[in-house]
Symmetry: C2
Subunit: 288 residues, 2 copies
């Protein structure tokens, strides 16, 4: 997906938010915005937004000297969701359609971003999403197609998105493994710290490695920019019979690909809503 002009104000907003997380003073924050502004004239609109997201993170790291300012936030998000893991597991177990419940929860998890402060917040968000998912018209929710595609897939590549959310991914993966005990599932994390995106250490601390193979995409953008991915990842990507792509960043970088990709995310931004024709707030399970 290309970058729209409406993304540009948002790049500055994201740069500012990221920089503030590092705790630097206002003058240093301004230096970050100055550097971002220098990139704007030459940034091509046919590049995907996460390409700029990667540049912004690089600037934030370079100027603030903090390599992984979201580390504590990521650890806390993981812990908060791990704490309610038994409850989420029970939610799925007691559902008429366990896979559907796990998918809905996995999308709920995409909403849990680093703004979430405590388990009460998470509880509220999950309730809201589950209630919304049940009420929603689900126009962009191709559950039956997803289920059919799963049954015909010998291998699934699961592209992770954020910390915290990874625990919801784990629940969905466990459900997939129950249904498809012979299918090989691989979970993919980012290669280096970028915002609050999942890294190998998150996968390990949340126990993903106990249930599936976990690999890095080789890419350090908040999305999956194929040009920046490792050979190992690209090999799996090319051969996977089904790809599950979590979150907006992966959608933005892979939406134009000709692969069997099901995108799972919540439409959190008006640019994506306009681009796709989905509604802001929609939960999406869709093969593009």
């Amino acid at each position: 997906m290309r970058t729209y002009l409406d993304c540009i104000p948002c790049f500055f907003r994201q740069a500012l938010d990221m920089t503030r997380i590092t705790g630097v003073d206002e003058a240093t924050q301004k230096r970050v915005l100055n550097e971002v502004s220098k990139l704007i004239p030459d940034f091509p609109l046919d590049a995907s937004p996460p390409k700029m997201g990667r540049e912004i993170y690089r600037i934030v790291k370079g100027i603030t000297g903090k390599n992984d300012p979201f580390k504590k936030i990521k650890q806390k998000s993981n812990k908060l969701v791990l704490d309610i893991y038994p409850k989420l597991k029970e939610e799925i177990r007691s559902s008429d359609d366990k896979l559907l419940a796990a998918v809905e929860l996995a999308i709920a998890g995409n909403v849990i971003d680093y703004g979430v402060k405590n388990s009460l917040d998470i509880d509220r968000e999950i309730e809201k999403i589950l209630a919304g998912a049940k009420k929603s018209s689900k126009k962009s929710f191709d559950y039956q197609e997803f289920r059919n595609a799963l049954n015909n897939s010998g291998s699934v590549l699961y592209l992770g998105d954020n910390a915290g959310e990874i625990v919801f991914d784990k629940l969905l993966i466990e459900e997939l493994s129950n249904i498809l005990p012979d299918t090989k599932i691989t979970y993919v994390v980012r290669d280096k710290p970028v915002i609050n995106d999942v890294l190998m250490e998150d996968a390990l601390s949340c126990g993903l490695d106990k249930i599936v193979d976990v690999i890095s995409s080789g890419c350090d953008a908040p999305g999956t920019i194929l040009d920046l991915c490792s050979k190992e990842f690209l090999e799996l990507y090319k051969n996977a019979e089904l790809i599950i792509s979590k979150g907006q960043g992966n959608f933005e970088t892979l939406a134009d690909e000709e692969r069997p990709i099901f995108f799972l995310f919540k439409v959190k931004c008006p640019v994506i809503a306009n681009h796709t024709g989905f509604n802001l707030g929609d939960i999406v399970l869709k093969k593009i």
Copy 2:
């Protein structure tokens, strides 16, 4: 009032909105954003936001070749509010406290921006504001102090803000003239087109010149930057016994001044809310 880092994403948003109004293509819109981004590194945070607003408008004009892209929008706003002028007049006439009603309406008018599409929208907004004004705690609403100050003032300088809104200003000025027949009131417009701000032609087409003196501030920013104002305006400004300042732009440029200024506006932006301690959405009648 200084510029905050949170204003920077908003500068790009405003530049994009303004440029789109001119109807130019995306490549030209991008050129505007490129030029704005070049200003960021050297823009001093101790300057007020309307200083950047002025620069952005200058860039939009320069690149699109449109000197007054908001002209039709301004004319339409004026017409829409002139159409309901008799109804507004009756609203004031039938109020227990006519001045209070006129002040509340004048602030309501500050909300009517160029996004308003028809008289139904305006009706709705006014109803909402009047209902809100009656309910609100009015913590930032020093009406009694304003009324007392008026009684002791031989001259009032009234700084206009937007087209459309100017008709509400007219209603308040008529009320002021009723109460204070001997007080000299001067209405101030911007010197040159800038966004949808009031110009001399708006004052003339809305009949302000029939009831008060109308002058230009000499300034072409979306606010009142004293360094850019004319001698004539500064003379009046220095000697006015009371100044009524409409809108956020005038507030941002005059908030730190040591003059008897009552600011009338609705808090439409979180930066101003944080800076002042007012709440987002508050209607403000306040001497700083």
